[in-house]
């Protein structure tokens, strides 16, 4: 009896369907708690900013109708274990029409499975790893440059500065960083650079002392690696504290956050592959220009836009464009519009792969390499690569730490 009662109670509070006319419901999870909360917040602000802009302008135009955008989102706690449950809920219960990705490759991978199982479009700006796109999907689309191209700019730049550089590749043992560095290792070899150390560390590492000593012992003079925010920033600080004196430091993700400046002298000269910087200047065919975006974002959030917000915003812009092109919110029609898309936004050019084994991977967008430099006596990021997009000259080698 008791069980039946409990079941009935469960039924009562699980079943509250939401249905509304003339709105498009978009579902996603974000990491309000847990270790990914900083990066996730940037992306989430990008999503929300886009929604507010669209709704303020009256909604997305479909034929002669206008649809307002509604978000449903849950906290995934930065843990993959809850992601599928929550995305299933978004699709089945909250009746989401479209899905956005959570932040990070580790969480995006389980979410993509749900999008395929239930046949919903998911636009991804949070997971750069390619693997989920290689199992024959139909509804996944990645707006950002995927993991294997993250460090190609850094390798090119380094080769130009010092073809005899000795590289230490030291990176977090997570899907994204491993994919990035595996590709970078190949590109470095192809470029004739010497790799003297190639190792991963556990994402939970808090003390990099022994690792830094090992890097020093390897006689490397260039460093490529990192992972997400905490480990990347800790590594940068300990490399500086222990005076590893690298001539080149490229760290993933962490230095693209403005908080990285808190590290002070340890931040100077660190480069980061970036999907987007304030200095990039593409001529958008659709949506705002970089200057407009940056200014409006600053006014709304009192924070500088970074690449997570920009890519999050772009996800919305891309979806909006596809819906308007398709003239429908039908999944297959929108997917067809996405497959055919080739536009330039303030974030860069967007075009998706359409062959079955790589469907939805980004093929047009280009990353830039940003470097922390002194700008008017304050630390700030400058775009230093590729040469045609640069806002400042590359600082090489990084000036040695002084006592």
């Amino acid at each position: 009896m008791k069980r039946l009662f409990l079941l009935a109670a469960a039924v009562a509070f699980v079943a509250t369907p939401a249905f509304a006319q003339d709105t498009i419901t978009i579902g996603f999870t974000d990491s309000q708690t847990g270790p990914l909360n900083v990066d996730s917040l940037g992306q989430q602000r990008g999503y929300e900013y886009w929604r507010d802009e669209v709704n303020a302008a009256g909604g997305i135009k479909v034929g002669d109708k206008r649809y307002k955008v509604k978000f449903v989102s849950y906290d995934d706690q930065s843990v993959g274990g809850r992601v599928q449950q929550l995305y299933t809920r978004l699709v089945t219960q909250d009746k989401a029409d479209f899905l956005f990705s959570p932040y990070s490759s580790g969480l995006t991978a389980p979410a993509t499975v749900i999008s395929e199982q239930y046949g919903k479009i998911m636009i991804d700006s949070g997971g750069a790893e390619e693997k989920p796109f290689e199992t024959g999907n139909k509804y996944l689309f990645m707006v950002i440059t995927s993991a294997s191209h993250y460090l190609s700019g850094a390798v090119d730049a380094l080769k130009q500065k010092d073809p005899n550089a000795k590289l230490a590749l030291v990176y977090s043992d997570d899907p994204f960083s491993k994919a990035v560095l595996a590709a970078a290792a190949q590109q470095a070899k192809a470029a004739g650079l010497q790799i003297v150390m190639n190792e991963s560390y556990s994402p939970s590492t808090t003390d990099f002392g022994p690792v830094v000593n090992k890097i020093v012992s390897s006689n490397a003079d260039a460093f490529l690696g990192g992972g997400h925010y905490s480990d990347g920033a800790t590594l940068a600080r300990q490399m500086h504290d222990q005076r590893a004196n690298m001539k080149w430091m490229s760290i993933l993700v962490a230095p693209s956050d403005d908080k990285f400046a808190e590290l002070g002298p340890a931040a100077l000269g660190v480069t980061v592959p970036s999907q987007w910087e304030l200095q990039v200047n593409y001529k958008p065919q659709f949506g705002p220009t970089t200057a407009q975006f940056a200014k409006a974002f600053q006014e709304k959030f009192h924070a500088k836009a970074d690449y997570h917000t920009a890519s999050g915003y772009t996800v919305g812009v891309v979806l909006q464009h596809a819906i308007e092109q398709a003239g429908s919110i039908d999944t297959d029609k929108v997917a067809a519009a996405l497959n055919a898309m080739d536009i330039t936004t303030f974030f860069g050019r967007i075009k998706f792969a359409t062959d079955a084994n790589h469907h939805g991977l980004q093929v047009a967008h280009q990353m830039v390499l940003a470097q922390w430099q002194m700008i008017n006596g304050k630390l700030g990021r400058q775009v230093v690569w590729p040469p045609e997009a640069k806002s400042a000259d590359l600082l090489y080698p990084i000036p040695a730490a002084t006592q």
């Binding site: 008791k2 069980r3 039946l4 409990l6 079941l7 469960a10 039924v11 509070f13 699980v14 079943a15 309000q32 708690t33 849950y74 906290d75 706690q77 843990v79 993959g80 274990g81 809850r82 599928q84 449950q85 929550l86 299933t88 809920r89 089945t92 219960q93 580790g106 991978a109 389980p110 499975v113 395929e116 199982q117 239930y118 790893e129 693997k131 989920p132 290689e134 199992t135 024959g136 999907n137 043992d173 997570d174 899907p175 491993k178 994919a179 991963s200 556990s202 994402p203």
Partner: protein
Amino acid sequence: MLLMLRRPFFWIIALAVVAFALAPVVGNDVSMRESLLLDALYITLASNLNLMLGYAGYVNFGSIVFFGLGGYICVWLVNSYNWPLIPSLIVAGLGVSGLALIFGFGILRLRGAFFALATIGVIEAVQAFVENFTPWGGSAGVYLSGEIFKPLGGPAHALWIIYFMMVAVMGLSLYLSFAIKTSKFGLGLLAIGQNEDAAAILGVPTSRYKALVYSVSAFLPAIAGGLYFFKSAFIQPSDAFDLSLSTEALVVGMLGGEGTVTGVAIGAFLYEELRGYLLTSSTFANFQLVVSGALLLLIVLFFPGGLMGFIYSRFPRTQKVLE
């Protein structure tokens, strides 16, 4: 075994399993199915953990290792050798049980807090190992292609089949708990849980029983892990060996009343529903950790016997019916 049919509790379990299986079918309610699937998973994990915790009195923080390894073995067989689901699940269950048996003889020499600590060590060591183990994809994990659901009639159909299998595993877990509790094996385990030295002197083969129950308690969670990660079509070490899931399973057991079959099951059900509710409610979203922590503290402070302890003391006659 036939004697069990005469116990009302046997039919209570049957009723619960049928209710689980039918509830989402009635309204073709997919989101209820997903929620109940997690309930069934938690009940499976907590019930099997209860064999160690509630019966034999050993705090196992590493119970999730069984779940994760089961998941890995199953996904690996399906992915790399194109095995069908059922044999993969069975091999996962047997394999993990076998490992647990061998391992149990070593680790179960420890008692009390030392055993608990060692199990934390086990989960960390296994996770760190799998992160470095390339045949299982290291830290990137293993992805299954969408094709795997074809033999089960496509994703939509497959998810129902997986759900029914998970409910079956839950039913088996409950029957296993019940059968062991009413058996000589169970009596020996309870004696070990109360006073291991005295039990040994009374003739209970303590080492063998402990290793055996460690191994038995690994079997169904391993199968549940196989099912869960097959359904997810993706497995990575941080999800498979999540220490907090182990801790949750312990908490669930204590909330419901360790050593009872009913209490643990209801505790798991309520806990998972509550977490799901807090996680998705807009009011508590930012404070769900605070709310669950405060609730837990209140329960521990004021209802130390858990749910069943409370029910037994208020309605003593229920002891005869609800195990």
